[in-house]
């Protein structure tokens, strides 16, 4: 099995899916150059018809992706940084998400949006935000947050084959993370969580870049005989509630680690589900570990303090264990 990093996994998934389906094409800001490597070289293989640079015009080209899908193609649309979605909110939330339902099921919207998100070291507030929570209460979208190269490839391929608007959020700090990635048709279904590490004492639901952090904490706590189960939901819509509830049913304790802000975030959403549906199996209150409710600051020590880190995950685990 080849060793690939996160970016190479994206590149491989894109190349394979574009090879497979001639109706797919890439569009977005600087996809020809592939500044971050994800789309690098695809122009040589697929030409400028299928790898199309767009102007810096998010409302325009995101909407164009919606229209293109409606007329039978399958656009893969890169919005360079997820914070740029704010410029295109109408097209994502009012149009892409609603058109199928509003048209009585007629509009076809096979679109994959890709965007880099998260604190990645000094990118400051307008390039570091974890914006998926803003889409959580918009029915009609699917939200994918891969935590490593293998899932990245499998989830992105599934997203491209999905007939709905899917946003794949790619954490900017995971770029160099390497692991074995199955070659060829490796598909990870949307809506299926992964137990990244089995354990008995506490469930840590970790999203995106919180997964490798939670894994490190779990390794550390194992030496203290604390058995941590790390569950990666992998997709926030659809959400594998069953896997989360079943894990909590086993461990009776839960910590939810997310890079989004505390208020109204994905962690809050999952916490509510657990409180509503698994209250009786809880031996301790649900605990969230999330980013502080401040815009992500530029200063490196402030940025590190704003975003949930291993120390906070560990403290939360110890709190729910009462240890």
């Amino acid at each position: 099995m080849p060793q690939l990093n996160f970016i190479q996994a994206i590149n491989t998934a894109l190349a394979e899916e574009m090879e497979r389906d001639p109706l797919t094409f890439l569009m977005g800001e600087d996809v020809v150059l592939g500044a971050f490597g994800a789309t690098k070289g695809l122009i040589d293989k697929f030409g400028d018809k299928r790898v199309r640079n767009t102007p810096i015009s998010e409302a325009g080209f995101v909407g164009a992706a919606v229209g293109a899908a409606m007329a039978g193609t399958r656009p893969i649309c890169e919005v360079e940084f997820a914070s740029f979605f704010y410029c295109a909110f109408d097209q994502v939330c009012n149009q892409a998400a609603k058109l199928r339902y509003m048209s009585g099921g007629q509009a076809r919207l096979p679109i994959t949006f890709r965007a880099v998100f998260g604190a990645m070291g000094g990118a400051a507030a307008q390039h570091s935000e974890t914006v998926y929570a803003q889409f959580l209460s918009v029915p009609g979208l699917k939200l994918v947050v891969p935590s490593g190269p293998s899932d990245m490839k499998g989830l992105l391929k599934s997203a491209i084959r999905d007939d709905n608007p899917v946003i794949v959020f790619e954490h900017g700090a995971l770029g160099r993370l390497k692991e074995e990635v199955p070659a060829g048709d490796h598909l990870v279904p949307l809506g299926k969580a992964a137990i990244k590490r089995a354990g008995d004492d506490v469930t840590v639901v970790a999203i995106g870049a919180m997964v490798p952090k939670a894994m490190k904490v779990a390794d550390k706590l194992a030496k203290d005989k604390v058995s941590v189960e790390v569950l990666d939901p992998r997709t926030l819509i659809p959400l594998d509630e069953e896997a989360i509830l079943s894990s909590v049913g086993k461990t009776n304790r839960i910590v939810i680690a997310d890079e989004g802000h505390l208020r109204g975030g994905a962690a809050a959403d999952i916490a509510a589900i657990v409180a509503e549906k698994a209250f009786d199996s809880l031996d301790a209150p649900v605990k969230r570990v999330a980013s502080l409710d401040v815009p992500i600051p530029f200063s490196p020590p402030l940025e590190r303090a704003a975003v949930a880190d291993e120390a906070r995950i560990e403290a939360a685990i110890r709190e729910v264990l009462g240890s």
């Binding site: 325009g60 058109l99 048209s103 009585g104 007629q106």
Partner: protein
Amino acid sequence: MALERDKHTAQRALLTLHEAQLLELYRRMVLIRQFEEKTAEMYARGKITGFCHLYAGEEAVAVGAIYALYDKDYVVSTYREHGHCLAKGADPKVVMAELFGKVTGISKGRGGSMHLFDQDLRFMGGYAIVGGGLPIATGLGLSVQYNEGPEVVCCFFGDGALPQGAFHESLNMASLWKLPVVFVCENNFYGMGTLVQNAICQEELYRFAQPYKMPGVRVDGMDVLEVYGATMEAVARAREGDGPSLIEAVTYRFRGHSMSDPVEYRSKREERIWQERDPIKNLRRKLTVERHVAEGRLGEIEAEVARQIDDAVKFADESPEPSVEELGKGVYAGS
């Protein structure tokens, strides 16, 4: 100058179109007018609820432009789209049923007055966010170009959309990529109650074509033949691969912005002046005077349309509501 030329185009269309074609234009305009009058009546009777924007007065724009298209061409519209949808060939029954919120409606009762949609007719939706349809029309054009298809996209929007970023972003991309899109701006002078010159610094809206390097014309939107002529040219250009055009059709909505608008921002005198220019009366006059069509023939068309509208209301009224059990279905493909 443009207006002068377009008057000639309109005159040529009047003299060269077959009588059957001219009567079809007349029929479509009458259909829209009667449909909208009936809609107002049904709204007053509480049969139709919610936001509802009538197209009466603007019929020549939808009918003239859409008559210049083939069936396979795409149309994108706004929230004032009953007229475009009917002109594209929708059965008034399913449009009325949608306004009634019935499951037999064109969007199965999920969209309502502002979100009519028919994939088979390539009527790609009414968009209730001002300017929201323009990027989508651009994308439809992108897909046509990608598939090397022969289709053209005709995108309608009002004067109110011009200050929106989406308008400028769309015209830029469509021109940059030479996409087969015809942008038709229905300038009815008011964005809700705000006069166009209080909303945009350049009130001669067709002039926005020039910075985006595409042809732009202003036509009399109360003259169906003028709109038809200008759209024919723009469509031919788009189909040849020469890119988009902008048509500004100057028109007037006879009613308020929506059913709840008391229209306090314009004078009765102004309304009367525009009613004198009624596009249906305009064509009727030309047909009877210049093409010697018998009044009786036009009367037959009106009576036939009236029967069709009555049938549409009956159909809508008798249709069932959507089932609440189906509420959660159709949010996602395959659900």
